[in-house]
Each structure stands twice: as C-alpha cells, then as structure tokens.
Symmetry: C2
Subunit: 743 residues, 2 copies
C-alpha cells in the first residue's frame, strides 16, 4: 500500500510536471503574447555584424573601383560623366551586391565651359602686336592620361569671356588688402593682375580687383604654396613625386555661392523660373584665367617696379616685383602688354545625381544619407573618385548582406552620387531644394566622403559636435593603415588633439563652417547633422595647400596609386571608419548623437565671444546676458537628456519613448535654423555654423556683425549686432527647449 | 483492477489538467510575454469616453465662467487683465478639476493707449475758434457696466497723436478707390476724412488717405452695416435688442501685421533687439479716431458738396455728400473745421499668456494645442470671453477625468490663454516665435475658439481641408442647440453646403487665409494644421457685419446672456464640438486628418487658376504645367496614403509604422512653408493659405502676383508671377513627396 501510494504520488508528480511543462511551453498564451515586432523594435546595433563588415571591406576592390572610375575624364555633364552614371547604376542595381533601388535624378543647371574650338589664350604682345610669349594651353603629357582629348583646357568656370590687354602687375593673393597696397604704388586702371592661389576665394581675386580698374586677372599656384618650393619636372615633380609639374593648372569654379545660380532656392527643373543672367552675383566681373607656374615664372620674373613685400614673395628664384606696371625695361617683354583671350561659354546642361537606397526595417522613415560627388575636372582620381571608390565598396559589402538576407538596417540608408559639385555643389544643393520637406523631417545625419584620402598620415573629421562620439567609437575599432596594433583613433590623437572638459585629451574634430563640399546644403540650408571624413597629411612633412595634383590633369589613377595611397590601405581605413559610423547611425536603438558634446562647443564659442566682445558691447548698451542665459539653458537641457538616456533601460521602454528621444537628437540641428539669420549669405540658415570673414573661433554671425560695426562705427551696424545676438540667443534657447522633457 | 486503472487514469488526467493550467496561467513566460506597453500604444479613441465628455459639458458652468470673466473690463495688461490671469491660473491649478501644470509666460510688448488724463477729442470749431459741437468721449450708460471707470475711451490703437484741423469730407469706406474718386471732386489736401467701417482694414483707411494730403481720419459704424438700419435707443437698440446704441464705438487695433511690432520674428523678451519705432510699417501715418454713429450722423448730414454715389450712401435719413470740402452753408457748421485732438501714447507693457497642459501618456511629444485670447477691449463678453468660458468648461471636464485617473490622452494637450490679441494677435505670435522649433516639430493641430458664439443659428468652421472630416465626425455627435433631434452637423448643412466630388453634399468649411484671430501665427508662420470654430448667424435674418456690440462697451454679460445666447446652449454646443475634435486629435491611434480632402481643395484652386490665368500666362511663355503636375502628384500621393490607412489593421502593426503615418499627416502643412514665398507679407510662409488682395478663390500668391503684373504690364512683374508659380509648384511637389511611401 505504501509502495502503491508512493508510486501513485511519484506518477502523479510526474504527470503534474508534464502538465505544467505542456501548459507553460506547449500552448501559446492568447492576449498576452508579445507581437512579433516587439523584438525588432527594441533591437540595438549588432557588434558582430560590424566586425563582419570591417573584415569584408577590401582594399583591392577599392583600387579596382578607382581604376574603373578614372578611365576617362568625367567633368560634369560630359560623355565621361554619363559613363560614370551608368557605372554607378550598374553597381547599385546588381542583383547580388546592389541596393534595394537605384535611379537617377536630373537637373538643368547653369555651367560654364571653355570653347573647345576656340581655346582661351594668354599672350605677351609687343607694342607692335608681335606675340612674344604664349602661355601653354594644355598641361604637358607625362603618362598618356594628359593626352586624352577629353581633358578640358585649364579655365576659370564662370569667368566672363573677353579680350583685355594691359600692363601686368603682381597682386599677391588678390585679397582686398593686396589690391589696396598695390594701388598705392601703381595705378591699377587698365592693368592685368597676376595672383597666386590661396588667401582669397578663386572668384574673389577678380571681384576684389575690378573696383581698382583692373581689367583681367591671371592666377597660378606658386611652388611655395603647393610643392614645398620644388619646381623641376626632370627630377622633383610628378611623375617623380606627388608634386605638381610646372605646367599643372588648378581649374575650379569661380562663383561665390553654392547651388545652381539661375534657380536660387528652387530645384532646377524644366519650367522652373530662372533669374536673368545679369542678376547673378558673386562671379568675376572681369576675365580671369588660371595658368601653370611654368608660365607664371616667366611673367613674374620679368616684372618691373618695386620689390613687393616679403610676404608676397614666392618660391621663384627672382624678386617678385609689383610691376611698373608692366615688365622691366631690361626684360625681353619691355613695354609689352599681356593679352587675355577668354572664350568661356555658359550653358544650361542636364546633370544627374545617382541615388540608391537600402530600405529600413523598423523606421524606414528615418534616413541616414551618405554621399559624394561624382564629377571631376579631369580624371579626378583623388577628387572625387577616391571617395566614390570607397562608397562603392561600402555599398558592395552592405548590399550583399542585404541581398543575402543577413541584414536590413533599422533606418533607411540613402546613397547619393552628386553631379556638378565642381561647379558649385550643384547636384547636392538641387537635391536638398527639391526634397526640402522630406529631408528636413526625416534625415538623421549626412555623411560626406569626398576626397577620401589626401595623404596617408591620419584621420581628419569635421562635423557638428554631436557626431564626435560616434566617429570616435568607429575609429577605435579600425586599425590605422600600416600600423597593425594602433587604431585609427590612437593614431589620430597623436596628430591632432585637444583637451575637453568632459573627456580629457581627445582627437580634435573640425567644424563644417563653409561650403567646401556637398555637406554645405545639408548643414547650412537643411540644418542636418553632418560630417566630412577623410585621411590626410602629416603637416610636419609638407606645407602644400592641398595635394599638389588637385584639379589638374595629373590627378589620375597612376598618381593616386603611386603617390597618394599605394596599396589603398588608407582608402580601406576610411571605408571602414565611415561605414562603421553609417551602420551605427542606421542601426542603434538610441541615435549615437551626443548633445552634451554640442554644449561643450557652444560653451567654447560663448567664452570666446564674451572675452572678445562683451566690453565693447556694453558701451553700446547691448547685453550679452541673453546669450549667456541661452547657452546655460542649452547646457542644462543637454545634460538632462544625456542623463535620461544613460539611466534608462530603453530596450524595455515603449518604442515611442525611444523614438521621442531619437527625434530630439535628430532634430537638434534643425532648431538652430533661422532663414533670417544671415541676410547677406545665400542659403546659410544655421546660426551656429556658417562661413565668416572675421576669422574668430566663435558664433560666425556675431563675429562678422561685430567686425563690421567696429570698422564702420555706425549705430545701425551696432543695431545689426544686437539683432543678430537676439536671433542667436533665441535659436539656442529654442534648441534647448527641444532637449527638455517634452511637456 | 479496471476500477483502479480507471481511477488512476482519471486522477492522472485531473493532475495533468491541473498541471497544464498551472503551467499556462500560473507561471509568467519569460522572453515571450507582451510588454505592458503593447496595449497602451495600440489603443484607439474611446467612444464611451467621448459620450461621457459630451454629457458632462454643462451650459450653466459656461454661463458662470462668463459671468466671472466679464466682471471688469480686461483690456490687455490692465489690472482687469491680471485678474483674469489669476482666475485662469486658479482654475487650471485646481487640485480636483485642474490640469497637470499651468503657468504664465510674459512678453514685453509694444501697445498703444489713450491718455486717461487727457482724453482724445473731436470737435467742430468755427472760424473764430468757437467749439460748435463736441463728439461724445465715452459711450452712453444703459446698464451700470458702461460707467466702470476702467472702460477705455474709444480710440484707434497705434494711431499717432496729433491735432489736425481741417474741412470735413466723406470718404465712404476709405478704400484706395474711394479716395481716388473723392479726389476727382474735392482737393483733399488739409482735409479730415470721415469713413465708415467695412471694405478696408482699419488702419488702411488712414494709410490710403495720407497720399492725397488728408491730415486726419474719423471712422464710425454706419447703422446700415451693423444695425440693419435701426438707430433709435429708445426702442430699437441695446438694451432693447442686440443692435448697437448710437453712441457705441468699435475700438480696434489699427496696425497691419500681427505680433509685437518692435520685435519682428523674435520673442519680445527683455534684451531682445527692438527696431526703431520709426521703422514700423503698416500703421496709420496720420491721426485717426473712431466715433459713434450718433455723432457721425450730425457731421455727415451737415456736409456740403455733391451727393456721393449710391454705393456710398448709408442708413442716415439724409444724403451723404462728399463735403464741399466742409459743411454746407445752410448748416450750423458753415465754414467750420473739424478738429481732432489725439493723445494716444505707445508703451512697452508686460503681457501674459496663461498656459496649461495635460501630459500625453503614449506620445507626450505630440501636442494638440487649443487656444483663445483672454484680453478684451472692454468687458468683452462675446469677444473673447465666450471662447474663454468654453475653454474653461473643457478644462474642467477633462481635468477632472485626469485628476480622477479615468483618462489620460495619448498625446499631450496644451491650452493657451493668449494675451494682447486685440493689439495684433501678439501673445500667440510671441509664443510661436519663442517656441518655434519645438512647436514645429511636435504640434499635431491647433484649435482656435475665440468668439465662441456670434449668434444661435449654425456652426461655422474654418481650417485646413484636412480637418474637415474630424469636425464633421464631432458635429454629428452633438445635438444642435434647441433642436433635440437634429445634430449640429445636420443643422449646419442646411445653412451652408457645397458639393464635394468625394463626399457629395457636405457643410461648407472656410479656409484660414487671413489673420483674424490667434490661429494666424500657427497657420502662416508655423504651418500647423489649424481650425477656427464658432456658432454664428442666420444670414437671411441680418446683414450685420458682425454682432453689433463688437469692441464696444456694450459687449457685456448682460448683452451675451440676453441677446446672443440665452441659456448658453450654443456655447455648450461649441464646447461639445470643439472638445470632441480635441479628444479625437489627442486620442486617435491614427490622426484623424484627411489628406485627400486637402487634395480636393488643391484641385479646386488649380481649376480656378487655370481658367483665370493660363491663357494670359501662355502669352508670356509661362507654363502652368509644373503646377498641374504638382497638384496631380499630390492627388495621387494623398490617395495612396489614404488607401494604406484604410486597408491596414494598424492596431496590429508596429507602433512605429503608425507613428510614421501620423508624422506624414502631422507634418503635411509644414511641407507647404516657404519663407521666401511672400516677400512683401510679414510672417506669411504657407504657400496655400495667405491673405490676398486679388480676391480670387485660388492660390493667393499666384492671384496677387498675376493681378499686379496685369495691372503694371512690366515684364519684371511677370517674372514675379513665374517665380511664385515655381515656388508654389515645388512646395506642392515637396508636400506630395512626404505622403508617398517613405522610401
């Protein structure tokens, strides 16, 4: 009986256990089981996926991308450009490694070209009209690349056509102060000025000259500024090194604002209103033409007049004189004029952006945009194809993961291959104009990788302060090229660092204040959190303004693979770093954007502003208290949001709480927009980041308004300072409001 | 044995069942059970709660609110205004029926007042300086209300002070065409013009006059325009009826733009930059003063000169002559002048908004804003206290449900009691300037109920077309006042209807094109989907421009309860309708905003524009194709989003998919903003809804630009038409983009 009871109890217990197990695991609970989407919406970035991504980024693939992209010159809207459009589309539509969707977007944009049948000429002509010297029309051939018939003659885009003839003068960098000084010695009316690159914008060299009566401008690159003084193409310059050969000429756009110039604030479509050409501002009012230093040497060393100041001297082995005006009597050019024959033509041409997307799984209405321009001046191996080669490697690796069903980002990723950047960031600007509302509402961040590799020394990154942290995280996970046990981050901090109150010694990031690449429209017009990433120089080893073949016929695959990044390891490091940032922005549950780092930068700007301006402003009864209050509000709101993020287990919270925080982070830069902040700057609306002529490390509009009021002394200019101070303070207060508890 | 086996099997089965039950119900599944927030995030609006709300809205409570609010005059920034601030705060901070939080927000704003120690005077003076007639300085007393020392003397806010004296002329409504015609008969230099309200904006009557040399303007309300011709206070006008007594004077703001005039686009805080007073535009350049028709009758009937045209004649029993200039020789005023002594003073005063919030449970970062101004000219029973009394009843009913824990809305509700509306919508405008970023990002809709009840006949609603549907839904659930078996909706459709291609015969909604109340900054500056709701006239029964006591000392509790809404049933109907809309906007899973209804209105506007303009535009080589394309894109995108909403079971979808759709709906109006669309209109940025002088039922900027080009014939004005057409087309295309699949 005891045994029977025992067996009964044991059996009963066993049956009960089976029952419990069946009940618990075998039957789905109705009404309380988790919907299938719960796991998806609470998922965070997958570190093993990032490891896999990093390991798959391949330097040789990048090299082959670059080889393909640089086969022919691909200046905007040329046949070569169309070839790259087709190439991008083919790659992004590839069934095994392509994106979800890829297409082209076209704009009818205002460009400027030399006349192929009537090349621009610069000559020295004697009083009897004999041509004593003719400036080289095309760069000298070293590899076969320079002989390609599609290599465009060096020219200044948007320079007017014209045939000025006059005495030559040397005007240093063509800054206002240069012409002012020169005019004290020489009557500039009717002269041709020769200037060197640097110090002022390209077009500014002509714009600054015209008020003095100068009728034409030449511009060249001095070996001092680009070649560390070297000049000889028999041993020193490319193809012997990365240095610019004597006949090399930097082409460029000579306009002053970004986007299509005929359709300000509107997408340049058929039927779009176009302003009259004569209403365009910011372009040279007089002809200007770039030439090589080979010719500049001949011209400058023959100039008469007094010796120019020491700061005007370049690397030529002669004294740079102002010019008599004109050449010295002892030179062969005595009494001769310089004549420019410029035949540039403006045309409305069809330019394409190539777009590709990977659709987001959980938040498809949040976009991470990654872009670079596609057009070059000539073959453009470094500018911009190094960046495009990197982008194509990213899309190959990510596209394959998507096609294989191994991955789909939480948010959507948009890739943009912009057209006509070289003429003024036109493709990206038109894109932001066409899709203004959609992009403003949904874009988490824009990543720009234009020239991916300037040189092999160190990472360079610029952007809003809020992206600092995600770039650091990414850079710590990537090995520095050629340095197995050092990360890109650890290498970077050795080249460029600063002390942060919050973080101690960290790499120094730059800010995106100007319009140097396609981030401009995203930063200034849309107020989208942006960054620009590249590998760059060891500044202790060269003083070159930029890599020497920039915008010349020598920026070729051979140049890039021989002298810029042999083995393409720096390209690979950029692909890994930028790709890592991209994945983190697309996949992180909470956006990896840090508002306290933003606050640190505002604090710095405020401190500088107070020490530079407060005393003088008080004299004009303009108080800086509203600005101080605003920055303090921002600091405290940012610290609060940071605290909420750090102390919450957001994977367990409602997805709408996470979304709320992400929206606060995403929209932070939008809060700094004010279309009235910079009445004199086209399409600059972000009150914190803008170009500035005052050159102070502080709020750009305040610095410029202050400088202008201080120089004029007019009370209406001090009113403008006060007005801008109010705009700035209220924008910062408004931004702080968006970081507080939402209600 | 069989029995034992049987017992064993039965026992075993029973134990198993117990086990299954324990396993299924007794033990929480880890990892797969639904998080507690799943139910919350998928919850839709609760119809039984709406029923409860409707039943709790009480007409007597509204009546008592009104009694309290109108005890004393409460012109902006006066002691009476402060009393209402305290009253609102007390109610919204009530522990049993208050809101989650209530507070005040202060602005230092530019106002204009008469000098209490030196009242404005208008007199008729003989050539020997004898005063022959003096215009009444204060309105006649009928109830004790008009004797309150705080009743402000009738005046024209922002009229300059001054002492013009001259011959009187009658200038009809003071429109440009009126002065033009008058000037053909009379030399207007040095004259004083008397005008009647209507036809032109208040300030415009003086602005239009000044170019002709007119030195002062009087304005009065003709009994024709307000009293259906009645004039006698012994039997016909208040307190015998709702009609205006002869001494009643409409006060008002005579400025032309909204918001604080010294701080355009900036919140008017201490330290904010203020423009110089002389830079203010849109205010009267010469003194202007409103008077009662009692005095206007004496002045106008004594005027000499020719008879004015028939359309200029009013209800007085005399011929309205132009004026000789001046009085006729047969009158007692022969050869006399009219003299104005205006002592208005501008002051910067502290004005308060009172704010209150109910925090949202699921999406606290989405705001439904409900507001009305608090300031009046005198007691302001109808304008604005009828709306405030309704708002207080809404907050009482909703606040109690919140305090009792019975309800918390999905989204946050923000209540705003705006200050200084009467001076130019100042409180609401400053609020939108201060919180521009936050409000732009998060506001679902703005509901304005200013004058809740003009009269007892029918609902009147204006707004963006996307709110039509939710207003209809709400109006169908509310009984029309005094008509038990008829809904507000069914009553409305009898008074005002139209045929919609999608819906058949429906009530006719208005659009918010101008700046008549506090919705202006929300619509035009922020691009927030807005609506304005009230109860109004049977237009077959009166021609009154507005309710006759408008802006006079007769707009009292007595007037409202005797003649406007005895029993307060219309107030109750508005509270129920607007409250129902409010709850639906706050609680619906999918926002009840319909983009196809928006599309229907754009179609109407397009058809009108094509038929009015296409032929002439073709002659100027301006194509309307981009606009047609844009409206077609919008139509198809809206239909698509509508289809997605209708065919999805969104309660089962991820909450982020619902949020995506809601963001598309919420941000639709933001996509229509372009700060460059109306360069000549302050703070108008919404390309579809704006004030327009052309008076055509189509896109306002296009209509105005076309009218201006047609009148001038200048090609640069046709360029402006083309420019605006591009702005408009691209904004609509951009809006359409936001409604498509997001990627």
């Amino acid at each position: 009986m005891i045994k029977q009871v025992l067996v009964g109890v044991i059996c009963g217990a066993a049956v009960l256990t089976v029952g419990i197990l069946i009940g618990h695991f075998g039957i789905t609970k109705t009404g309380s089981s988790a919907p299938s989407w719960v796991t998806d919406v609470t998922k965070d970035v997958d570190e093993s996926l990032i490891d896999k991504f990093l390991s798959e980024v391949d330097n040789i693939q990048i090299q082959e991308n670059l080889r393909e992209l640089t086969k022919v010159p691909h200046m905007a809207t040329t046949a070569g450009d169309e070839q790259t459009v087709q190439f991008m589309l083919k790659r992004w539509q590839d069934p095994e490694t392509g994106l979800d969707k890829a297409w082209r977007e076209e704009y009818l944009v205002y460009l400027s070209f030399p006349d192929p049948t009537n090349p621009n000429k610069v000559t020295v002509v004697s009083p009897s009209d004999t041509v004593l010297h003719q400036v080289r029309e095309k760069e000298k051939n070293y590899t076969s690349d320079q002989n390609d018939p599609e290599v465009v003659q060096p020219y200044a885009a948007y320079s007017p056509a014209g045939h000025p003839k006059g005495k030559l003068v040397y005007a240093n960098q063509g800054k206002p102060s240069d012409y002012h000084l020169l005019n004290q010695t020489v009557d500039l009316r009717g002269t041709i000025a020769i200037t060197r690159y640097g110090g002022a914008g390209r077009g500014a060299k002509a714009i600054n000259a015209a008020p003095y009566g100068v009728i034409g401008v030449l511009v060249y690159t001095d070996p001092l500024d680009i070649n560390d003084g070297l000049m000889s193409d028999t041993s020193e310059t490319y193809p012997h090194s990365w240095y610019l050969p004597p006949s090399g000429v930097e082409r460029g756009s000579f306009n002053g604002q970004y986007g299509d110039m005929l359709t300000p604030y509107l997408a340049a479509k058929e039927g779009t209103y176009r302003i009259p050409v004569e209403n365009i501002t910011g372009i040279p009012p007089i002809p200007i033409q770039p030439i090589g230093f080979e010719d500049a040497y001949i011209l400058i060393c023959a100039l008469g007049g007094e010796a120019a100041p020491a700061s005007w001297q370049g690397a030529f082995n002669c004294t740079y004189n102002f010019g008599g005006p004109g050449f010295k009597s002892t030179s062969a050019f005595n009494d001769s004029d310089v004549k420019m024959d410029i035949f540039n033509q403006e045309k409305i041409k069809n330019s394409s952006n190539v777009m590709g997307v990977i659709r987001g799984s959980v938040e498809p209405d949040r976009y991470v945009i990654y872009g670079n321009h596609r057009d070059s001046w000539v073959h453009g191996a470094i500018d911009p194809s190094s960046g495009t080669a990197v982008m194509l490697e990213l899309t190959r690796v990510l596209g394959r993961m998507v096609k294989q069903g191994k991955w789909r980002p939480r948010r959507s990723i948009v890739f943009g291959s912009w057209g006509a950047e070289e003429f003024g960031l036109i493709g990206s600007a038109e894109y932001t104009e066409q899709y203004f509302a959609k992009l403003s509402e949904r874009t988490v961040a824009y990543i720009n990788v234009d020239i991916a590799v300037f040189a092999n020394a160190t990472l360079r990154a610029s952007g809003m302060p809020s992206v600092q942290n995600v770039i650091f995280t990414a850079a710590k996970q990537v090995a520095a090229p050629g340095l197995d046990s050092t990360s890109v981050y650890d290498n970077w901090i050795r080249y460029s660092n600063r002390t942060s109150p919050n973080h101690g010694t960290i790499p120094r990031m730059g800010f995106l204040t100007g319009a140097g690449s396609d981030y401009a429209a995203f930063v200034h017009y849309l107020g989208i959190t942006s960054m620009d990433i590249s590998y760059t120089y060891d500044r202790s080893k060269t003083n070159a303004r930029i890599y020497p073949a920039y915008h010349t016929a020598y920026d070729t695959f051979n140049y890039a693979s021989e002298f810029i990044d042999p083995g393409f390891l720096s390209h690979q490091a950029i692909a890994r770093t930028a790709g890592n940032v991209l994945i983190r922005l697309a996949d992180s549950l909470v956006l990896p954007l840090n508002c306290s780092d933003y606050s640190e930068s505002l604090d710095d700007y405020l401190n500088t502003a107070v020490s530079l301006y407060e005393h003088k402003l008080k004299a004009w009864k303009i108080s800086m208290e509203p600005l101080k209050h605003a920055v303090a509000s921002f600091r405290s709101a940012a610290a609060h949001l940071d605290h909420v993020i750090r102390t919450s287990d957001l994977a367990k919270e409602t997805p709408l709480k996470v979304r709320k925080i992400n929206d606060q982070l995403m929209l932070l830069d939008r809060a700094f927009l004010d279309p009235l902040a910079f009445p004199d700057k086209y399409a600059y609306r972000h009150v914190i980041w803008a170009s500035s002529s005052a050159g102070k490390p502080t709020f750009p509009g305040l610095a410029d308004a202050f400088a202008s009021a201080e120089s004029s002394g007019h009370s209406r200019d001090w009113d403008k300072v006060h007005f801008h101070l109010s705009v700035l303070s209220q924008a910062i207060e408004g931004a702080a409001q968006t970081l507080l508890d939402v209600i």
